[in-house]
């Protein structure tokens, strides 16, 4: 039987935390970024696209690892290819999902091929799939912060028409909002975010930061501003909490991140059901 303390323990916690301050900063930045872009992914019903993008990002990163160039660059390149392809496909989920289903295993295959060809440390290989935030160095941290700032800034500019286009496409189009351009811009921002998230939680678990926090928030609020705020809070708690919990046992962070975000979702479910039973807000 598994000893519980091998999964959760706080041995030498206080001495370990300072060593991972870089990782904690990275987790916070990524949490904010994920929480910020999450509501838009949610509104545009893009969960599967995030998965597809992360697999292509993974493929890009493995190729980069094999070639001995920057993994970040590879991840970003893979994401952007996916983003542009998906952006051009437009916003119709029906057409999109099939294309993603086609792209995803292909990206996965490329990724696995180059990881197998790679002769370096095997922890690097595993890291791309399941995350390796403890290995965050200052260069990567700087890149993460710069990209996060760029994405946040761009989101601030396009948020309003993009949200309109996402939740109410017929009227948004009538109001002259450039739907296709916005779709491509958003997919590029999503690609950048995914490429960053991959380095924290790995390709397989990107969804737990980009999808779950917003899905949880959407259970308990219908107010766009509150949705945004809550999903940021949930994502940061998941990311940073996951890092901290993984310290003692010395296990990968991803199971902790995914579990925390899943538990938050589970907690939000009954709260949402209760609010609905109460007739939500001021509904007469």
């Amino acid at each position: 039987m598994i000893d519980f303390s091998s999964i959760i323990n706080f041995e030498g916690f206080s001495s370990l935390v300072p060593l991972v301050s870089g990782a904690i900063i990275a987790g916070t930045v990524l949490g904010v970024l994920a929480g910020l872009i999450g509501p838009m992914i949610h509104a545009r019903d893009l969960a599967f696209a995030v998965h597809g993008t992360s697999e292509l990002s993974f493929a890009g990163a493995s190729v980069a690892l094999f070639l001995g160039v920057s993994v970040t660059t590879g991840a970003v390149a893979g994401s952007l290819v996916a983003a542009v392809v998906l952006g051009l496909l437009g916003v119709r989920a029906k057409d999109r999902n099939a294309s993603i289903g086609i792209m995803l295993p292909f990206g996965m295959g490329i990724g696995v091929l180059f990881l197998s060809l790679y002769k370096g440390r095997s922890s690097n290989k595993f890291g791309l799939l399941t995350g390796q935030i403890v290995a965050v160095d200052s260069t990567r941290l700087t890149t993460l912060c710069l990209v996060a700032a760029l994405v946040a800034l761009a989101l601030a500019v396009v948020w309003r028409p993009l949200f309109f286009a996402s939740v109410d496409p017929a009227v948004a189009k009538a109001r002259g909002i450039p739907m296709r351009t916005l779709s491509i811009i958003f997919m590029v921002l999503l690609g950048l975010t995914t490429a960053m998230a991959i380095q924290l939680v790995g390709a397989l678990l990107v969804l737990s930061l980009l999808i779950t926090p917003t899905a949880a928030a959407a259970r308990v609020t219908a107010r766009p501003s509150a949705l945004c705020l809550l999903s940021i809070v949930f994502a940061v708690i998941s990311a940073v909490g996951g890092i901290l919990l993984s310290l003692g046992p010395g296990l990968p962070i991803s199971p902790y991140v995914t579990t925390i975000s899943f538990v938050i979702y589970l907690v939000c479910l009954p709260i949402g059901a209760w609010r609905r039973r109460q007739g939500w807000s001021r509904r007469v």
Binding site: H42, V157, P161, D168, V171, R175, R282
Partner: protein, 287 residues
């Protein structure tokens, strides 16, 4: 013949004193490749006027709205909004789409939907604004949606959603209201309420209304004129002028019979080229 002057009443029968023009099509034609959807259409909608666009599916009713929204170019003729050539995203237009199940994923309230009608198309962050929230509150109150404006929109009934959509369309003070089947999938009671609400906006907001519908009866008490789209032509006139067996038979190029019963209009065509029956079955069974 397919223009305003088709009927004896000339340009705008209920409109003796010329009001400002909300929208105009003049000699307008739309072609997709080799196919002419409709041609040489002349139609003017004045402010305060309610015009229903009728016709069978695929005849090009919605296309007429999309032309005025600047989404589809005319192959010939001109289209103007308030006297200016059509542009994409004209502030002069309020648009009310079909009621569709709002995506349950979209976590927004009715209030947010109406707010998007004010400035949802602007770039940059939306800063809190007292005058905006007041405008939104007023628009919501006008359509009687105050009590449910803060509930998630996915939990509202179709009729409630359409009320909010009307508020969303009117909140920007447009001169023209384009409605694309706004009654579809509503029950009779809500059809009547929504029609009445749209009719009211002519007095409260002085808008001209172009209302695409496959069913004339819910709006029959309100409309000034009908633009009947069929067979590549558009016939414009009062309901009494247009909704007649001879006129519609001529337009369809096949026998069509128009019946009137208890103030309702029933259009029947032969099976082969059946236009549609204006949803009369539904209406009679419910009555």
């Amino acid at each position: 013949m397919s223009d305003d002057n088709a009927g004896p009443a000339g340009a705008g029968p209920l409109d003796p004193s010329p009001r400002p023009e909300a929208a105009r099509l003049a000699g307008a034609s739309v072609t997709f490749g080799d196919r002419v959807l409709w041609h040489d259409v002349d139609l003017t909608v004045h402010q305060g006027e309610f015009v229903a666009v009728l016709g069978p599916n695929g005849a090009g009713k919605t296309t007429m709205l999309r032309v005025l929204l600047g989404q589809i170019p005319l192959s010939s003729g001109v289209a103007t909004i308030a006297g200016h050539p059509v542009t994409k995203g004209s502030a002069e237009i309020g648009y009310v789409p079909q009621q569709r199940a709002m995506d349950a994923l979209a976590p927004i309230r009715g209030r947010d939907l109406v707010t998007m009608g004010v400035d949802g198309h602007h770039w940059g962050p939306r800063w809190p604004s007292h005058s905006r929230s007041q405008k939104v509150r007023r628009a919501i109150a006008e359509v009687g949606a105050t009590s449910y404006a803060d509930a998630p929109i996915s939990q509202l009934s179709g009729g409630e959603q359409q009320r909010l959509r009307i508020a969303q369309a009117l909140v920007s003070q447009p001169g023209l209201l384009l409605c694309d089947e706004p009654l579809l999938s509503l029950d009779i009671r809500h059809q009547n309420a929504v029609s009445q609400l749209i009719d009211q906006s002519r007095w409260t907001h002085n808008v001209g209304i172009l209302f695409v519908t496959h069913e004339i009866n819910p709006v029959l008490p309100y409309i000034d004129r009908v633009a009947y789209v069929a067979g590549g032509r558009v016939l414009v006139g009062t309901p009494d002028e247009v909704m007649r067996s001879e006129t519609l038979s001529d337009l369809y190029g096949s026998p069509v019979q128009v019946f009137r019963h208890n103030g309702r209009i029933i259009v029947l065509a032969d099976e082969e080229r059946a236009p549609h029956s204006h949803g009369e079955h539904q209406a009679t069974t419910r009555d």
